[in-house]
């Protein structure tokens, strides 16, 4: 089960992921990101500090946006991952394709520098 909280901070859309993302709840993540993109946000922050688990399907969602974001010049930064979640990203090699910050402050600087 996943709960996604959205809030906007000076032109940046912040999605806070709370709970676990598995095959079924990955659809919600996909919808949330799609909605954000649909609303025209070019800066998206993903708050993973309350994300307890993410399955490969959830990682697939992030992965699927990489090229689209590159084309549309949309910036996305993830931050606040627990070691366990970070490990899942690292094993797959996704950390090399995604921008991952330590905390919100770092993430914000990253997104503005990109």
């Amino acid at each position: 089960m996943i709960h996604i909280k959205r809030l906007q901070e000076d032109g940046t859309d912040v999605l806070a992921l709370i709970g676990e993302i598995d095959a079924s709840s990955s659809i919600e993540l996909d919808l949330a990101i799609a909605k954000s993109v649909g609303e025209g946000f070019t800066k998206i922050l993903i708050d993973c500090s309350s994300l307890e688990y993410i399955s490969s399907a959830g990682l697939g969602v992030f992965m699927s946006y990489i090229e689209e974001f590159k084309d549309k010049n949309i910036k996305m930064v993830l931050f606040g991952m627990s070691d366990k979640v970070a490990n899942t990203f690292e094993i797959l090699g996704l950390h090399e394709l995604l921008q991952i910050g330590k905390d919100k402050v770092q993430a914000k600087t990253m997104i503005n520098e990109l």
């Binding site: 095959a23 996909d30 490969s56 399907a57 990682l59 697939g60 969602v61 992965m63 699927s64 990489i66 090229e67 366990k84 690292e90 094993i91 797959l92 090699g93 996704l94 090399e96 394709l97």
Partner: protein, 705 residues
């Protein structure tokens, strides 16, 4: 087949014989009644002839009476069989039969009367024998008519019978038949009970005549027809009674030795009963006429209701249910038009209309919304509303009454049914109730329909999974490559939902063996499908003796065109060279290899660089993948696995994890791969505390010699 054919033939022929038998019996009974009538004619006339000439007759006095009773009996069974055979007769047909019999009897009787009139008042027509003959023609005709009517009335009375009614009827019928015996024996002993017996029969007949349930099932037209038929039947009866009584009067003044029906309980009881029931039926139908339309309407409601409830079984989609709902509610409350507004999504609705245009209905909805009418039309309220008073202010509208109902599916308001009439105050409370029942039923039908769809979908999905699972199993190798330098054991167990774990081995040369372990993202059929692609890629690329990083590059290139958005495959590919005792490998986002160094007793995970296949879909993938190598020594163990193992959870929610996996390996490092694997699986099940795994467990264990 031959046996079946024979059986059918036998059954048919048996039925045919039974049918023929009944037909033959009916014919025989008719013949018997004709013969007995002739015998009655002969004996009675001969007695009258003898007595009027004061000669002692050879024929005993009691004979005509017995013959008459025989005639009655045969006719009784004739009509009984004849009518019972016709099971599909409806009420009007039954009345028609009675009427027809009466008509025939009356026409014959009238013909004789005409002959009488034509002949004039001659010696012949006033002769006792002629009168007796006329009487003996009229009486059987009357009896025939009575028995026919009696049999028909029986069917009408016993329509929707109760136990009690059936019992009473049996008493009546058998009593009447027994009275025939009483009539045959002219015992002075029982002379006294004639009147009480007759009265008893008349009373039972009266009670039975109260059963008129069949009348309610006639429609308006049938009622008119029945009235006419019954009126004519009563008329024939009256005419018959009159003719018979005048004949007996005349005959009685000349002789006392004829068979007088006035002593005959059966005939008298029949006459009273048949006339009573005919008159009662006539009156009941007459008084029922004004309320027929109401009954018909009720019946139609029931039929309509049934149509709605059955629509779920027969209709293919929700739209049909909506249309049936519209049609039935309109016809039940005599509405002039109706519409059904169904929510498509949160903001849009679809309107199904009946005898009204979409535009017109939208206009009314808009008008009511503009007037800020609080009611079901805004779909916020959940009560049936009569919104008629708000229609008055809509210019140019042809409707003056509107009634709106909410429709619920699983407690959620999915739409609104609105009924319209051109008449002001066109709906009453009764109609409101009926249509709200319809709306409820339609809601249930739609819900059932959706549930059934879901169930079907589930069933299909399960079937698909079964296939996917079979496919997945068949993709895994049955036999693994073995070598003098190493030994391999592998294991894969998938959860109910098929995953895409894949492992395989392939010997590329005398000194080289390729190994792969992969995990396809996603589940179900797509996972199995991607797994088969991976297998194809492995078998074609590994044979070309390319380096592991090149293998990954080419695999990625091949998979770019197969994997849909969001799908990827993590894999690790190994080339074990037994000549150089080196292992070359490349990791594409797969779980790091667990390696046990026999010489130092240390375990480690190879956390090398490399991203999963399909994640980068262009040439730049090359920069994310690398080849690594190590030398193996005897006793070294390599554990390949998928994330199902490290992510296996216990009841506290803790994961099995990397450390536990390494610890488990060290515990059994001396054993054969097969036993190491066995131990690992046992530990895994022990940890998760259940045999029901919720992910795929896959391991491949390689032990170097």
């Amino acid at each position: 087949m031959a046996n079946l054919g024979l059986a059918i033939f036998l059954a048919l022929s048996r039925a045919f014989i039974a049918e023929m038998r009944t037909k033959a019996i009916i014919r025989l009974l008719f013949l018997v009644s004709a013969v007995t009538w002739l015998a009655l004619l002969f004996t009675d006339i001969s007695i009258v002839l003898s007595t009027t000439n004061n000669i002692k007759s050879d024929v005993p006095q009691w004979l005509p009476r017995v013959i008459l009773n025989l005639f009655i009996l045969s006719l009784y069974f004739y009509y009984k069989l004849k009518l019972e055979k016709d099971e599909i007769l409806n009420f009007v047909d039954l009345l028609w039969r009675v009427f027809a019999t009466g008509l025939v009897a009356t026409v014959i009787s009238l013909a004789i009367k005409l002959l009488d009139i034509v002949l004039g008042s001659t010696k012949l027509t006033t002769h006792v024998l002629f009168i007796d003959f006329v009487y003996l023609v009229n009486l059987p005709l009357m009896i025939g008519f009575l028995i026919m009517a009696f049999t028909a009335w029986k069917r009408l009375i016993l329509y929707q019978k109760s136990k009690w009614l059936l019992r009473l009827w049996n008493i009546f019928e058998w009593g009447l038949l027994f009275s025939l015996i009483y009539n045959s024996l002219d015992l002075p002993l029982i002379e006294g009970i004639f009147v009480p017996l007759l009265v008893a029969f008349i009373i039972i007949g009266l009670v039975l005549s109260g059963n008129m349930k069949w009348v309610a099932y006639l429609n308006f037209r049938q009622k008119w027809t029945s009235l006419l038929l019954l009126l004519l039947t009563v008329f024939y009866l009256m005419y018959g009674f009159f003719t018979l009584s005048s004949l007996t009067e005349t005959l009685g003044s000349k002789t006392t030795f004829f068979t007088d029906y006035r002593d005959h309980i059966f005939i008298l009881a029949m006459m009273t009963f048949v006339s009573l029931y005919s008159i009662f039926s006539f009156l009941v139908i007459l008084f029922n006429l004004p309320t027929t339309s109401v009954f018909e309407q009720k019946l139609e409601e029931v039929v309509n209701f049934q149509r709605i409830s059955q629509s779920i079984q027969t209709e293919q989609n929700e739209e049909s249910v909506y249309n049936i709902l519209l049609e039935t509610s309109v016809s039940t409350v005599f509405a002039d038009a109706a519409w059904l507004e169904v929510k498509n999504s949160e903001t849009t609705t679809r309107v199904y209309t009946y005898k009204i245009t979409d535009a017109e209905s939208r206009e009314i909805i808009k008008h009511l919304n503009d007037q800020h009418v609080k009611g079901v039309l805004d779909q916020g309220s959940d009560k049936t509303r009569n919104l008629s008073k708000h229609l008055g202010s809509l210019k140019g509208a042809r409707f003056r009454s509107i009634l709106a109902f909410p429709i619920y599916v699983k407690g959620e308001n999915i739409g609104t049914l609105a009924l319209l009439r051109e008449l002001a105050e066109g709906f009453n409370k009764e109609m409101t109730k009926i249509v709200s029942t319809f709306a409820n039923q339609a809601g249930i039908s739609i819900e059932n329909f959706r549930l059934m769809e879901e169930a079907l979908q589930n069933e299909r999905y399960k079937e698909e999974l079964k296939i996917a699972k079979t496919v997945q199993k068949s993709l895994l190798p049955e036999v693994l490559e073995q070598d003098e330098d190493f030994e391999i054991a592998a294991f894969s167990e998938s959860a109910d939902e098929v995953g895409g774990d894949y492992y395989d081995t392939l010997r590329t040369s005398d000194t080289e063996v390729a190994l792969i372990i992969a995990d396809v993202s996603g589940k179900g059929t797509t996972a199995a499908f991607h797994m088969s692609q991976m297998k194809g890629i492995f078998h074609s690329l590994a044979q070309q003796c390319i380096e592991p990083d090149e293998f990954m590059r080419r695999a990625n290139q091949a998979l770019v065109y197969c994997l849909e958005r969001g799908s990827f495959i993590s894999a690790t590919f190994f080339l074990v060279n037994t000549a150089t005792k080196k292992v070359h490998y490349s990791r594409a986002g797969h779980c790091p290899v667990l390696y046990y160094h026999a010489d130092t007793g240390i375990t480690e995970y190879f956390r090398d660089k490399g991203i999963a296949l399909g994640m980068v879909r262009n040439r730049s993938y090359s920069s994310f993948i690398q080849a690594y190598q190590f030398d193996y020594k005897s006793g070294d163990i390599m554990v390949l696995y998928t994330d199902g193992i490290t992510e296996a959870k216990n009841d506290k929610g803790d994961e099995f994890g990397y450390e536990r996996l390494a610890d488990v390996l060290v515990e059994v490092k001396e054993q054969l791969p097969k036993d190491i694997q066995q131990h690992l699986i046992e530990k895994l099940y022990e940890f998760s505390g259940t045999q029901n795994i919720n992910d795929d467990y896959t391991t491949m264990i390689v032990k170097f010699k």
